[in-house]
């Protein structure tokens, strides 16, 4: 009786723990020094599919900032550098005085998905973009 109760309590605590710690472990979201998928055709294809499903509503199919769901930035011109780009995608960014914002994707997409999306967006870069 005691033991079953204890087990139950442990079980619940574990359940709670699982609920609080999202899908991936924290280290999964360490940003590598360089994008391992940069230029990788298969990864770019997969990143494009993710991009078109989850990013294009706000940033537009061309990544020019003309989404049908509001004003995302023009990602072809992006000036943040590779690491800066990934960091915004992970943690999002609020827009001063607006409800619409850039949502964060940490614990939603895997790091692999995010790096693949990044590799795809890199292929759309305009000359002034910074992917260093």
């Amino acid at each position: 009786m005691q033991i079953t109760k204890w087990l139950l309590a442990m079980f619940c605590a574990a359940g709670l723990w699982m609920a609080l710690v999202p899908a991936g472990m924290a280290e999964e979201y360490e940003v590598p020094e360089a994008n391992p998928y940069s230029g990788d055709k298969k990864a770019i294809r997969s990143g494009r599919s993710w991009y078109r499903n989850v990013c294009s509503p706000c940033h537009g199919g061309r990544a020019d900032g003309q989404g049908e769901r509001g004003t995302g930035a023009d990602l072809r011109k992006q000036k943040l550098g590779y690491k800066g780009f990934v960091e915004v995608v992970l943690d999002g960014r609020k827009v001063q005085g607006r409800i619409q914002f850039m949502p964060g994707w940490r614990n939603v997409l895997s790091m692999k998905d995010i790096l693949e999306i990044t590799a795809y967006v890199e292929t759309l870069a305009l000359p002034e973009a910074n992917w260093e």
Binding site: N53, V54, P57, G61, R62, R69, G97, R98, G104, V108
Partner: protein, 564 residues
């Protein structure tokens, strides 16, 4: 003393009675709700039939050039202002950012403000896009009825803003969408469309279409406590006609939310609504565009007695283009026949018999349409273009998915017989991808790139389908915020670039234009207060859908009242 007091009371009562006549103070009765807009504006769309027509004529085609700004007021909007305010008893009511404001009709000052806080775990697919937007409130009896984004019905005393009740419909099968990182199942309903007040019920459109595709319902709520009286399913259930136009299991995430405030006919006792696109946008799980998916991209008529569906007409069978049929179906008497007239994304104005849903005709109203060649006599598209291949190249589709008209409301003037459209020439490059799933939420599996033409505001003869006038905003893509028309032979709209415009309703001649410097995403309204007619336009939001460059406008939020 006693005597005096009594006299005072009688005098006060008499005065109140008189004021009641002049200002229609006190509770809003069914009788008042049944009338065309005049001194008061009691429905988001002016009347039950959705006409956005006012019988007022103090401001008219002869004197409109002498309009003046009476007052301006900011409600500090943080996203698009999409609601047309209501006017009753000296107050204007407007929802924004999950708040409701009551403004004084004298000077726009805030009389009361009601604030609702969304739940902590609010979030999910496309949800930042919807958050804070509202397309109107309803008023009935002593209460303003407000549907917050998380689908709660708030009954607010119209004089004080105090909530008599707040009703949550989560346990009725209407969860709100949750933040992806906090939920295993983030699917949910988001309310941006306002309720409609009819005798004995407040009708609530429950829409989850682009937040994961849970199926749409119209819910009738009891005005005294919010209790559900019935739920009408937009997608046919087992045994209903059209059930078999969906593959097994696809009904569950088929979308088809009742999309934009519906209209009501008191004789037929029917509620008419357009419905959202079928879900997912990529049709591979719901027949690949080969099955009709009745109920989505449709016009649906609901019997308001018991919530049974009287008929469904599908305007875009198998909808592969995100072509919902937004816009309030207008109820118009044409040659003695009660007709549903709905301009929509397809580029056509659909005419249906209001009683039976029988297709009558579809008139093309924009220049560029390539997705079909027209509609046949049964209301089915002729020669639809082939669908793009998943993962292949995108195809050119006209109109684009924002449509020939979007949800920005049209108006109908019974005196001119013209319907006024906030239209646009548009197109898109459109393609399919595999359907990605996050936290149990199925994403679109489709994407698009805009190919814009200009905004074109226009008048179409409802009977003949002929265009009577147009006002093209060259180089300015987008839609006007919505149309208003009056017995004073004027039609009023504000272009998306922010040009407040009063046109001669018959000829389209522009009588008054003021650049307000910010985007309009709501229709204007009019009312009479202390003997004077006002026209109100709420401005607010981001020009376009992510495209402010051509319009050279930044975010704005202000409500402007005009008078003469």
């Amino acid at each position: 003393m006693q005597q005096l007091k009594l006299k005072g009371v009688i005098a006060a009562m008499a005065l109140a009675g008189f004021a009641g006549l002049a200002q229609a103070g006190g509770p809003v009765t069914d009788k008042m709700l049944s009338m065309d807009a005049g001194d008061e504006w009691l429905h988001a769309n002016g009347n039950w039939a959705g006409h956005r027509y006012s019988t007022l004529n103090q401001i008219n085609a002869r004197n409109a050039k002498k309009l003046n700004v009476a007052w301006m007021k900011s409600i500090g909007a943080k996203t698009d202002t999409m609601a047309t305010p209501l006017y009753h008893d000296g107050l204007l009511f407007i929802p924004q950012d999950n708040k409701v404001f009551a403004l004084s009709a004298d000077d726009g000052s805030i009389v009361w403000k009601y604030e609702h806080t969304l739940p902590e775990d609010w979030g999910g697919y496309n949800v930042p896009f919807f958050t804070g937007k509202h397309r109107g409130v309803a008023i009935s009896g002593m209460y303003v009825f407000f549907l917050s984004n998380d689908n709660k019905l708030h009954a607010l005393d119209y004089k004080t803003g105090k909530a008599a009740f707040v009703k949550d419909y989560q346990d009725q099968g209407f969860p709100y969408p949750k933040d992806f990182s906090q939920a295993g199942d983030s699917n949910g309903y988001v309310s941006t469309v306002g309720p409609l007040a009819i005798p004995g019920a407040i009708l609530l459109p429950m829409n989850a279409t682009d937040t994961g595709g849970l199926p749409g319902y119209v819910v009738a709520a009891n005005p005294s406590n919010g209790d559900v009286m019935w739920k009408a399913n937009m997608i046919p259930g087992p045994g209903e006609e059209g059930y078999d136009t969906w593959p097994e299991g696809s009904h569950e995430y088929g979308g088809a939310g009742p999309w934009i405030v519906g209209s009501y006919d008191p004789d037929l006792k029917m509620y008419f609504t357009g419905t959202a696109n079928a879900y997912e946008w990529n049709p591979k799980n719901r027949g690949g565009g080969e099955m009709d998916n009745v109920g989505a991209a449709s016009i649906v008529a609901v019997n308001t007695g018991d919530g049974s569906v009287a008929w469904r007409y599908v305007g875009v069978p198998g909808d592969p283009w995100d072509y919902d049929l937004p816009q309030t179906p207008l109820v118009i008497d044409i040659d003695g026949k009660k007709t549903i007239v709905q301009p929509n994304k397809t580029g056509y104005i659909h005419h249906l018999d209001a009683k039976t849903g029988k297709f009558l005709k579809a008139d093309k109203f924009i220049d560029q349409v390539n997705w079909i060649k027209g509609y046949d006599k049964n209301g089915r598209p002729i020669d639809m273009i082939p669908l793009p291949e998943e993962g292949g190249d995108p195809v050119l589709v006209q109109p684009g998915l924002l449509g020939g008209v979007n949800m920005y409301p049209s108006a109908y003037n019974p005196k001119t017989g013209l319907v006024y459209l906030p239209a646009a020439e548009s197109g898109m490059m459109y393609g399919f991808e595999e359907i990605k799933i996050i936290s149990n939420v199925r994403h679109f599996g489709a994407y698009q790139e805009f190919e814009w033409g200009p905004e074109v505001d226009k008048a179409v003869n409802v009977k003949t389908g002929e265009e009577v006038w147009r006002d093209t905003q060259e180089g300015e893509p987008g839609y006007a915020g919505g149309m208003l028309t009056t017995a004073g032979n004027i039609t009023v709209y504000t272009t998306q670039a922010g040009k407040f415009t009063v046109a001669d309703a018959k000829s389209g001649k522009i009588l008054y234009r003021l650049n307000m410097g910010g985007a309009a995403k709501s229709g204007p309204m009019t009312y009479k207060h202390k003997g004077k007619q006002y026209i109100v336009q709420a401005l607010g939001g981001v020009a376009q859908f992510g495209r402010d460059e051509p319009l050279k406008n930044e975010f704005a939020s202000v409500i402007v009242a005009f008078t003469r």
